[in-house]
Symmetry: C2
Subunit: 212 residues, 2 copies
Amino acid sequence: MSKLRFEISISLDGYVAGPNQSEEHPLGEGGEQLHEWVIGLAAWREPHKYEGGEVNASTPLVEESQSGVGAVMMGRNMFGGGPGPWGDDPWQGWWGDDPPFKAPVFVLTHHEREPLTLGATTFTFVTDGIESALEQAKAAAGEGDVHLAGGADVAGQYLSAGLVDQMQLNVVPLLLGDGAQLFEGGTGAGLGLEQVLSVEAPGVTHLRYRVG
Amino acid sequence: MSKLRFEISISLDGYVAGPNQSEEHPLGEGGEQLHEWVIGLAAWREPHKYEGGEVNASTPLVEESQSGVGAVMMGRNMFGGGPGPWGDDPWQGWWGDDPPFKAPVFVLTHHEREPLTLGATTFTFVTDGIESALEQAKAAAGEGDVHLAGGADVAGQYLSAGLVDQMQLNVVPLLLGDGAQLFEGGTGAGLGLEQVLSVEAPGVTHLRYRVG
């Protein structure tokens, strides 16, 4: 049975992006520090077509999170896009000519758009809600899991709806103080969590929970 | 040199107490779940005069946090007290006839009160601010460290003032959704944190950071 797995990097004070997200600062001001632990890893660099990189205690978790994924879901801001509709010359997103996903990606948005294929990745834009997106993603995933990549808003909707099966927070030693909070306004309050593992690694601690 | 160590149990969504704190619910509604990981441990039960208890991966950290402490600081709500002044028949706090601290305790409050000795613990009430309280606690601690026990408000003041040397968060798999947030309103934003250790234990993960 295909699971919905959610994974995100988060500051110790609960932010998954810094303030003032923009084309210049897609992760918000200071938000890129949330991902420093991963961009130096060979396990991340290889699928993103960078050379070299380290192997450390995060490596098995990064490899694991990339394997067994049959489909990916994300919000419109994570795909890459401003607040308005797509327009006549819609932007191709943050992910370049050959995105690293290698699996169908379902983008939650309020604005219809034809599917977009870049390299080996096809982005399908879903406008009829989170249940529909999950249904389509699970159908596309076959035996694989569905990886919910974020951002905070979409992840919060899935958490609050009780649709997430597994949640992994990569907790970074950083106090951002402002930005997008994953658990703002009581997101997921009362969900049952079972701690599955905690792994200390350089510059990050990985916390994985089964969500009930 | 005496260090200021801060340690607190916190839900995954950042709450250190549940909503509606009262005499009936000193930790707020649901807040007692934040401490379930510790109250079953022999290392906690013995100084609190309960019998039995378990030994697990949390044990060395609990023992360590109790050793080398020369003085304790806490806020007035953590000592035990409502919002008003102390009154003619002031309450003796949450901690019983023989509190577990075995070290001088400095209580931050806006209301003057004579020192209170219960068993082997003397509570000194400090009304002239957090720097004064820390100075008095360090003087009392001698070679030992000062343990900042909380709650969220007092801890936030020390964090924001850059006075904390070490912070340990005991992260509990719980989404409270409401209550007292440690990092509300940008507390400690921009402080340098260095991850010192992360320890997975039953029902909790301990995250320790060097601050500043």
